[in-house]
Assembly symmetry: C2
C-alpha cells in the first residue's frame, strides 16, 4: 500500500477512535435510539441493498461460487426484514457499559469500583455473508465501540450500501457517523493495514473460515480474539446409554452441520463399539451422513469411507463425520488433546468417574457430559446475542456476549488520601 | 538460532505444556505444599544463591552498572529470607482455580458453569532483578500454571541457581519439575524463540523497562499482557483545595519515585496556578524534586528547568516532575489523551462536575479523584499479590492478581439433551 493510501486509512482509524470517545459517553437510551434508526433505515433501504446484492450475486455466479456460498451471500427483502428484527433484539439487551464488576471501600476509606467501559475501536475481518456487517456493527455500537469493517470482496457492493445505511443512521440519531468505518475499498491491502493498526484498533475479531482466522492470528499486530474453528469431538464411553449415544451424536452432527459447534469426530470405547455403532450409524445414514472410519471401525463396518490422517484434523462443516475406536478413556483424551481446536468436546457416559475425569482434563472452551455439542452457543447460554465463540484463553473463552466487547476501568475516589 | 537449539527449546516448552496439565489438576493443598518446600529450599540454598549473585555483581561492576541497578541486582541472606516470607504470603492466598465465575440451569434443564482454570504455560520476560524469578514463578504455580522464564543476562548466575531450587522444590513435593523452564542459557535468541512459541506458551508477560515492554509487544507472536509503563498525570483543577494539592502531588511523586504508579506530569488549571504552585513546589523541593516546567509555569517560577517536548512523554522513575499550566479541564483532558500511557490518572478538585467528567472521559486502567496515584497497586487494592499492572484493555486492566493468571472453561451437564 502506498503512503497516501495508508495515510487515508489511518485518518479513518483516527476518526473512529475520536468518534469512539463520544460513543463511550452516550447513554443506553441514545445508543438504542440510534439502533432503532438504523433498523428503520435498513428496512427503507431494502430495495437499494437488494439491488447492490444482485451485483455481488452476478459476479459470484460468474466466478463459479458454490450454491452454498451464493445462498450465504444472498440478501432478500425478507432477509433484510429479519436482520432489522435482530437489531431490535439487540436494542432489548442490557447495556454492559457502566456495569459494576467489583467494588469495595478500602480500610483507609478509599473507594474503588471496577466499571465496564467500551474497548474503544473493534476491528472485524469476515467473509461472504453481508449480514455479518450489520450484526457485528450493531453489537459493537450497543457496547459503545466504534467499528472498522473488512468484509469479503464477494460482498463488496452489498456491504458498501449497508455501511452507508449504518453511518447515516448514526448521524440521523445524533451520534458520530465515523463510529462505522470500512477498509473494503482497499481490498486485501486494506485488511493488512487494519491488522497493523496498533494504537487505533483495540481488538480485531476475525469471523469466517479456519484459513481466514489463521491468517489474522499470525499476521495481526493488534490484539486478536481468535474465534470459531471447531474440530469438535464426542466420546462414547464404555457405559454410554444406547439411546443417548444415538440421539446426541445425531443431533450434534446433523442439526446444523455448517456451524462451528457441530460434531466432526466421533470416538468410541472399544468395549462399546459393537453395542453402539450399528444404531448410531443407522441413524446418521438416515440423515445422509458420510462416515469416514478408521481401520478398527471398518473391521465392523466395511461400508464406510476409509479415513485418512487429514480427516482427524478436518472441520468438515458438512454431513461428514470421522469415527475412530479408542482403547479407553485415556485413548480418547489423547486423541482430543492432539486434534482438538479447543472449542467444544463432549462425553456420553453413565460412569461418574469417567465424566469427572473428562470434565477436568479436557482443555476446551466448553466441555460437556451427555449433551449435544450444539449447546455451545451464546443464544443457548442465554446471552441474547453472540459476538462469536472464542477458542483462545485470554480475555474471553467460549461464547461471547456483549460483555466480551468491553474492558473495565478502576474508579478510585479519595478525600485527599496519600499512601504511607 | 540454529535448528538444534530451536528443537531443544521447543522440547522444553513442550515439557512445560505437558507438566502444566498435571499441575492444573493439582489440589490447592498440593500446590501449597510445593510452595512451602520451595520456600524452605530457598532458605537452605541462601549461601549458594548469594555466591552466584556475587558473580553477577562482579560482572555488573566491571560493566559499570549504576548503583541503583546494582542494588536491584543484589541478593543477601536477609533479602532471600524476605523472599521466602513472601512465598509464605502467596501460600495464604485463595486459589483461583476451580472458582465459579458464573453458572445457571438453562430452561431445558442443562446446567452450565463457568469455572476458573489455569492459563497453562505463562512466559515471563524481565530484567535485572533476580527476585522477580521467584515472584513470578510462585504466582504462576499457585494459579496452576507452568512458567518459562527469561531473566536479564545481568542476573544469569543468580537465576540459574534459583531456577534449580524451584525445580528441585517442585520435584521434592511430588509435582513436575518441568513446570519451571528457562531460556536464559540462549540469551536474546532464547527470548526471541520464547516470543514465537505459539501453541506452547499461552501468555507472555514482560516486566521491566518501557523499552523491554515495547520490544515484546511488537515482536511477540504469542498473546502478551502489556504491563507497567506509566506516564502518570495529576490535574489540579481550579477548585483544588491547597492542602490536598500539596500533599497529593508530593505523595504521588516522592513516596516511591521508581515505580510505575508514581507521578510524572503535573497539570494545573491556569486560574489555580498562582494559588497552588508556590506551596506545591516548596514541598516538592523539600524532598529534592527537580521541576521541568513549561513556559507558562516558568513565567511564575523562573527557577525551574525548561521542559522540552520529550519531557511530556517521559516516565522519569526519578525525583523529576514535569509541570504544565492548562487553560481548563478540557486542556488537561487533551494533554492526558495525548501523552497518557493508560496507566493511572488523577484529578484534585472540589468540583463535582469536574470530578465526574474526569472519571468518565479519561481512558486509563485507573482514574482517580483526590487520591494519590500510588494507590493503583494490587496490594493496596487488597489482591494480596500483584502480577503486574496491565495497561492494555483485553483480559486484564489495571492491577492484576492471581485471577488474571487464569482463564475459564464452561462445564455443561445434560441428561441426553439435544438441541431443537
Amino acid at each position: 500500500m502506498d503512503a497516501a493510501a495508508a495515510a487515508l486509512l489511518d485518518a479513518r482509524f483516527a476518526a473512529a477512535k475520536e468518534a469512539s470517545r463520544k460513543l463511550a459517553r452516550a447513554t443506553s437510551a441514545e445508543k438504542n435510539a440510534a439502533l432503532a434508526t438504523i433498523a428503520a433505515q435498513l428496512r427503507a433501504a431494502a430495495p437499494r441493498i437488494v439491488a447492490a446484492n444482485a451485483e455481488d450475486l452476478a459476479r459470484g455466479r460468474a466466478e463459479g461460487l458454490s450454491a452454498g456460498l451464493l445462498d450465504r451471500l444472498t440478501l432478500t427483502t425478507a432477509r433484510i426484514e429479519a436482520i432489522a428484527e435482530a437489531v431490535g433484539e439487540v436494542i432489548a439487551l442490557a447495556d454492559p457499559v457502566g456495569q459494576s464488576v467489583a467494588g469495595r471501600t478500602l480500610p483507609n476509606g478509599v473507594r474503588i469500583d471496577q466499571i465496564r467501559v467500551p474497548l474503544g475501536v473493534v476491528g472485524a475481518i469476515y467473509e461472504a455473508r453481508p449480514n455479518v456487517t450489520i450484526d457485528i456493527a450493531v453489537l459493537a455500537l450497543k457496547s459503545g465501540n466504534a467499528v472498522v469493517l473488512r468484509g469479503g470482496t464477494s460482498a463488496e457492493h452489498s456491504n458498501r450500501v449497508i455501511i452507508q445505511v449504518l453511518r447515516d443512521g448514526l448521524a440521523a440519531a445524533g451520534l458520530p457517523a465515523d463510529c462505522v468505518q470500512t477498509v473494503d475499498d482497499y481490498g486485501r491491502a486494506g485488511a493488512r493495514h487494519l491488522m497493523g493498526a496498533r494504537g487505533y484498533v483495540d481488538v480485531l475479531i476475525p469471523r469466517g473460515s479456519a484459513a481466514l482466522i489463521r491468517t489474522v492470528v499470525s499476521e495481526a499486530h493488534v490484539p486478536v480474539i481468535e474465534t470459531g474453528a471447531g474440530v469438535v469431538h464426542m466420546f462414547l464411553d464404555e457405559s454410554a446409554p444406547l439411546d443417548w449415544a444415538v440421539e446426541l451424536v445425531h443431533n450434534a452432527k446433523v442439526q446444523r452441520p455448517s456451524v462451528c459447534n457441530a460434531l466432526e469426530t466421533l470416538l468410541v470405547h472399544q468395549d462399546a463399539a459393537e453395542r453402539l455403532l450399528p444404531a448410531v450409524f443407522e441413524r446418521l445414514r438416515g440423515s445422509g451422513v458420510t462416515i469416514h472410519a478408521d481401520e478398527r471401525v471398518r473391521a465392523y463396518h466395511p461400508d464406510t469411507v476409509a479415513a485418512t490422517l487429514e480427516d482427524w484434523e478436518t472441520e468438515y462443516l458438512s454431513l461428514d463425520l470421522s469415527v475412530a475406536i479408542v482403547d479407553s478413556l485415556d485413548g480418547a483424551l489423547a486423541h482430543i488433546r492432539r486434534y482438538s481446536t479447543g472449542h467444544t468436546e463432549s462425553i456420553v457416559t453413565n460412569d461418574l468417574a469417567s465424566a469427572e475425569r473428562f470434565l477436568a482434563e479436557v482443555d476446551a472452551a466448553a466441555v460437556m457430559v451427555n449433551a449435544s455439542t450444539r449447546f455451545a452457543d451464546g443464544g443457548e447460554f442465554g446471552f441474547g446475542a453472540e459476538v462469536g465463540i472464542s477458542t483462545q484463553k485470554l480475555h474471553a473463552r467460549g461464547p461471547m456476549g456483549l460483555s466480551e466487547l468491553t474492558s473495565t476501568k478502576w474508579i478510585v475516589r479519595g478525600n485527599g488520601h496519600v499512601r504511607h
